[in-house]
């Protein structure tokens, strides 16, 4: 028996995520009630997606590492952490030892909290369970305990539910999505920033009247919303900084153009690979949705969805377009920052979407809140990068020779993973668990006050108003 277990462990350790995750996904899908054929295809597709993501991350990581090293030699501009984007973060998170188990864990947490009426949200956005896995993976690495990482992932899932409940009416009112809440740990962490910034701006005469026109911004700054062009331009600029003294004119030109094309390719290919991962997860997420709904019937609940459904809104798009150049500027001027922004310039709409209800879609205010959240984010990301990079190694992603450290705006820039990482002990994780339960309790005792704070419109706060 011992030899059998030892063999099994050795097998799992050596096979890596591209094999282990498909097997686990297959069984999870079966248990949730998917048909065997679909479950099998789902598992295989996810394994393929991981191989694809690994290839693209390899290209990006190698290119940016070379560029980063040459840039330090040429300009002394030290930026040791590269932004590999949320698709990479998600793939890494799902492939760690914590990530392998996050789907069943988050489902159980959700059903229990629904059952005891501590939450109203049924989180069917299985894909975004990666945020909980990400937090759990960081905790597991810092504490060297997979068990603690799993508990941290469970606590993170509860936090997402609380934030979703709290902001539900605000989101429903502003974005016109009745019955929906957003348990998304890239969007929800912005709400406290928006509350604070809005409060301050309201107090400043003159500034509290400033508005900006979303259509105009979309026309003028639309180019910042095109990832391929963005990748090409960033590649050109970085390439010139890194290789302007690489020898003959031909050598310089070749290196610069290669860098530009490689980075443009990453911007197009990385999301395509993640699309495959999504496709593979569909049977699991459908099965999970039906499984959870059967166990939560007859209740007045919110359906928890991806904030991707919000960010077509002009307020979110325009704010993000303005924040792209600002964020690049911040990355250059902030003292002590080590992060070079790249792949996650496309994720900024997710970060700002939660601001809109509080600020009534006022883009000027949303940009200010965004600057503050991202500005702090650079320091969080710099501090979290070593652990983030270790997680990538643990998840089986090939780390190039002499590689830079990595991060991503989602969720490497955000406070929830950072708080969890700082409190990576049993006491710390338990504390975060108790705090979220207390918050849920307080919220449910007097939801109206909380909902108003998060920007819910008055007509949804009336007693008996439709949920």
């Amino acid at each position: 028996m011992d030899t059998f277990l030892a063999t099994l462990k050795a097998l799992i350790d050596n096979l890596g995520a591209t094999v282990v995750l498909p097997v686990i996904i297959f069984f999870v899908a079966l248990i949730l009630g998917a048909k065997p054929g679909r479950a099998f295809r789902s598992g295989v597709t996810i394994g393929i997606a991981f191989i694809g993501i690994n290839l693209v991350i390899g290209l990006m990581w190698t290119t940016l590492t070379e560029v980063g090293q040459a840039m330090v030699r040429n300009t002394g501009l030290q930026r040791a952490v590269v932004d590999v984007g949320w698709p990479s973060a998600a793939a890494i998170a799902f492939a760690t030892r914590v990530g392998l188990w996050v789907i069943p864990i988050a489902i159980v947490v959700n059903l229990v909290l629904l059952f005891v009426r501590f939450t109203k949200t049924l989180n069917i956005d299985i894909w975004n369970f990666w945020h909980f896995a990400f937090i759990g993976s960081l905790v597991a690495i810092v504490s060297k305990s997979v068990g603690m990482g799993l508990v941290a992932a469970a606590v993170a899932a509860a936090w997402a539910l609380f934030l979703a409940d709290w902001t539900a009416k605000a989101i429903q009112g502003f974005y016109k999505v009745p019955g929906i809440s957003i348990p998304h740990l890239t969007t929800a962490p912005g709400v406290p920033f928006a509350i604070a910034v809005n409060w301050v701006i309201e107090k400043i005469p003159g500034v509290n009247k400033v508005e900006a026109d979303p259509d105009h911004i979309q026309k003028r700054f639309g180019v910042f919303g095109d990832p391929v062009v963005l990748g090409l331009v960033i590649g050109l600029v970085l390439g010139i900084l890194a290789f302007y003294n690489a020898g003959s004119f031909t050598a310089v030109l070749v290196n610069v153009l290669k860098t530009a094309m490689n980075l443009a390719a990453v911007m197009l290919l990385l999301p395509r690979m993640v699309q495959i991962l999504m496709e593979g997860l569909i049977p699991v997420s459908e099965a999970a949705r039906e499984f959870m709904k059967r166990r939560a019937t007859g209740r007045d609940i919110y359906i928890g969805l991806d904030s991707a459904i919000l960010i077509g809104h002009p307020a979110a798009i325009s704010t993000a377009l303005l924040l792209v150049p600002i964020a690049i500027l911040l990355s250059l001027i902030l003292p002590g920052n080590q992060v070079i922004l790249f792949a996650d310039l496309a994720v900024i709409p997710f970060v700002v979407a939660g601001f809109a209800p509080i600020m009534h879609g006022n883009i000027f205010r949303m940009v200010i809140a965004g600057i503050i959240e991202l500005g702090i984010g650079f320091y969080i990301a710099t501090a979290m990068a070593p652990t983030f990079t270790l997680a990538a190694g643990e998840a089986g992603f090939a780390i190039p020779e002499g590689a830079s450290q990595i991060t991503s705006i989602a969720d490497g820039f955000l406070w929830p993973p950072f708080v969890f990482m700082l409190l990576s002990s049993w006491v710390g994780v338990a504390l975060l668990g108790v705090v979220v339960l207390v918050l849920m309790f307080l919220f449910n005792r007097n939801p109206t006050q909380w909902e108003r704070l998060a920007g819910a419109p008055e007509e949804l706060l009336q007693p008996g108003a439709a949920d």
């Binding site: 919303g225 699309q275 999504m278 359906i303 960010i311 077509g312």
Partner: protein
Amino acid sequence: MAQSKRILVACGTAIATSTVVAIAIEEALKARGIDVVTRQCKAAEVKSLAPGYDLIVTTTPVPKDIGIPVIQTLAFLTGIGKEAVIEDIVKALQA
């Protein structure tokens, strides 16, 4: 055989929810013997990509003045009212 109908599926990222919607539409319409081609895009790209498509299905707000029918729905994500939306899509394609 008539040419396949072309549907543009939009969401915030062109990755996450639009993948779910595109695959659900393809499966549902195939089951009814209707051949469709879908393409995913971001909400901001809808206006420039729309010409040449028969229908736009989106999970997030898109501009209204595009000149082809737009169906904004969360039914493929929540599972609630999915059949009704599929009927709407079929009708829109036949129109």
